[in-house]
């Protein structure tokens, strides 16, 4: 087990654990945001990268998690950590129920059906004003304590959430059931011929994915202490998540997280100063990734960087 890659990863985690004691509050926030995306991308990768089902609307579970924590802490005054299992459970139940009909669809149809589900859930929450505050949003109880402490608290909780998602993904990549998922990605008919119960496995992978994303949503809600349907459902989250998965490589365990680090840190460093054109740059960046780096950064530049590889990527899928 102890090999070079694992040691690198361990070093990476140790650096992340020690970092809050050296950097300012601003960078703590930026890194917490990065972990948030890392957790979402890693969790979603189970269904998107491993099983090969492009769940475009997977952010729905992020919103569901956020609202579960929101409602439980405000209406039932539950402590924050106690709400997280409920987030995961809600995500798993909803994904299992929806998965049975929706996972029969393939490709485009599946992708758009998940978007439809996401929008429908958003509208429902928007209209359940008594429970969720509707369009006005929901204000959660603010955590007590020094700002320093709160920053560090969420930094570590979010880091924990990301590492937990990674761990689950790692386990799935090693066990027999994980191989079944990958068989489904490569060829679903062949997988079912060799005796894999594909509907069960697909639903299982979506449920796990939903549970992980929902936990992250719960943490997000407590972190920002204010949520409304428009921010937790949709916006640019789904496409950012997809760009991260693509950038890092969806078939790997660690890729989506690295993609999240690259995209979030680049976006923070390069264009946080240009608020007005921020969205335009994001759009262009996504177009660029799809055109030149569809296989991911690491797969493309395995043997070193060169522009030729970018161009050959561009030509590969030309009509």
């Amino acid at each position: 087990m102890i090999n070079k890659k694992f040691l690198f990863f361990l070093l990476f985690v140790i650096v992340l654990v020690l970092l809050p004691f050296f950097v300012s509050g601003y960078w703590l926030r930026v890194l917490t945001q990065t972990f948030l995306f890392g957790a979402i991308a890693t969790g979603s990768n189970i269904i998107i990268g491993f099983t090969g089902y492009p769940a475009f609307g997977n952010i729905a579970f992020f919103g569901i998690g956020a609202y579960v924590t929101g409602v439980l802490t405000t209406k039932y005054s539950m402590p924050f950590f106690a709400t997280l299992p409920f987030c995961a459970l809600t995500g798993i139940i909803i994904a299992s129920l929806l998965g049975i009909p929706i996972l029969r669809l393939k490709g485009h149809y599946f992708a758009i059906a998940t978007v439809g589900v996401m929008e429908a859930i958003k509208e429902l929450i928007d209209n359940m004003t008594e429970l969720t505050g509707g369009g006005l949003g929901l204000t959660l109880p603010i955590m007590q304590g020094e700002p320093e402490y709160i920053y560090k608290f969420f930094y570590f909780v979010m880091l924990g959430s990301m590492l937990f998602s990674l761990l689950i993904l790692f386990i799935i990549s090693k066990i027999k059931q994980g191989y079944a998922l990958r068989a489904i990605r490569v060829d679903e008919d062949a997988a079912s011929v060799i005796g894999i119960n594909t509907p069960v496995y697909k639903t299982f992978s979506w449920a796990i994915s939903a549970g992980l994303v929902a936990i992250t949503g719960g943490i997000y809600a407590y972190w920002l202490s204010y949520i409304d349907p428009n921010t937790v459902f949709g916006g640019t989250y789904p496409v950012k998540m997809f760009a991260m998965i693509l950038l890092g490589g969806g078939t790997t365990v660690i890729g989506p997280m690295l993609g999240a680090f690259i995209l979030e840190l680049i976006s923070e460093i390069v264009w946080s100063k240009f608020i007005a054109i921020h969205g335009m740059v994001l759009g262009l960046l996504i177009i660029f990734i799809i055109l030149f780096l569809p296989k991911g950064l690491f797969e493309t530049f395995k043997g070193g960087f060169s522009f030729k590889k970018l161009l050959s990527n561009l030509r590969e899928n030309r009509l």
């Binding site: 929706i102 929008e119 997809f242 921020h278 996504i286 177009i287 055109l291």
Partner: protein
């Protein structure tokens, strides 16, 4: 009252048909779900808006400009961006078009501002009435234009050489290539047509309601529902789907509540996808056979 609701629904449905027909054509022929469709339609709205505001051109006269400009725009996008990704995994295209959508929406927000705009010519408020049903002139004319354009579109696909080439490509890409059809050109032309139709729809939208860059996503999803209801690449299907969606939306916002309008539309879409993804009038298209 029920008659008025039905008429409103049908009038709204005409617009949905027009926005859906381009989307459905592009999807059926090239297998691209163009998530930027709504944003492209809004470009058309802004063309009409600025021509009306700055040149005092009657909004209906700006329709050809909006069609032609967005036809060119769509051609360039397909030719120089999309054609490079067409053969990749399907969700690559989905993300690519979403990237274009994000770019366009933010472009419009930056340069045209996020304010709600509307085009109000002098005859905006007038309407005709018979048998107790009120029909605003503009909505009626918009409906007629949508109907005419949809019919022309259908005839174009049935009768002209290019239309036949487009249909051939949608049915079987390899066989079409063997008969000397260049798929690159046909794909570009199809996408250009789709964008042009979106532009027309957008121009007409600016006459009937206020718009801002933020409604792009809603327009795309409606186009999607129309395409799903009617079946891919089918002009008459898109018209049926549009009118159905229009009626369902007005009925549900009257009986259940305005707030649930979207939820019902999305629910309908998911239901339709599960039960009959090929649409009410749908047949198997090349795009579907391939994947």
């Amino acid at each position: 009252m029920i008659l008025q609701i039905l008429i409103n629904g049908i009038l709204l449905g005409g617009f949905y048909a027009l926005i859906g027909v381009g989307f459905s054509l592009v999807w059926g022929v090239t297998n691209i779900i163009n998530l930027a469709h709504g944003a492209i339609a809004l470009l058309g709205s802004y063309i009409t808006y600025y021509m009306f505001q700055n040149l005092h051109l009657d909004p209906f006269l700006s329709l050809p400009f909006s069609f032609i400009l967005l036809f060119i725009f769509g051609y360039l996008i397909q030719r120089y961006i999309m054609n490079y990704v067409v053969k990749a995994q399907i969700f690559m295209l989905l993300i690519l078009t979403f990237g274009i959508e994000i770019f366009l929406v933010n472009f419009m927000t930056t340069f045209f501002s996020a304010d709600f705009r509307s085009v109000t010519p002098t005859y905006a408020g007038s309407s005709m009435e018979f048998a107790g049903v009120v029909v605003p002139y503009i909505r009626f004319v918009v409906f007629v234009i949508c109907l005419v354009v949809t019919i022309i579109m259908g005839l174009f696909l049935e009768k002209t050489w290019i239309g036949k080439a487009i249909r051939a490509t949608s049915l079987d890409l390899e066989a079409a290539m063997m008969t000397g059809i260049s798929p690159r050109k046909i794909y570009s032309l199809t996408f250009a047509l789709g964008s042009g139709l979106a532009g027309l729809a957008g121009s007409l939208l600016s006459l009937t309601q206020a718009f801002s860059p933020n409604i792009a996503g809603g327009l795309t999803l409606r186009a999607f529902i129309v395409a799903i209801l009617g079946g891919l690449g089918r002009v008459e299907g898109a018209f049926l789907g549009g009118v159905m969606l229009g009626i369902i939306e007005t009925l549900s916002s009257f009986y259940i509540g305005e707030g649930y309008k979207n939820a019902i539309a999305f629910g309908l879409m998911v239901f339709m996808l599960i039960v009959k993804p090929s649409g009410l009038l749908g047949r198997k298209y090349y795009a579907e056979v391939k994947h």
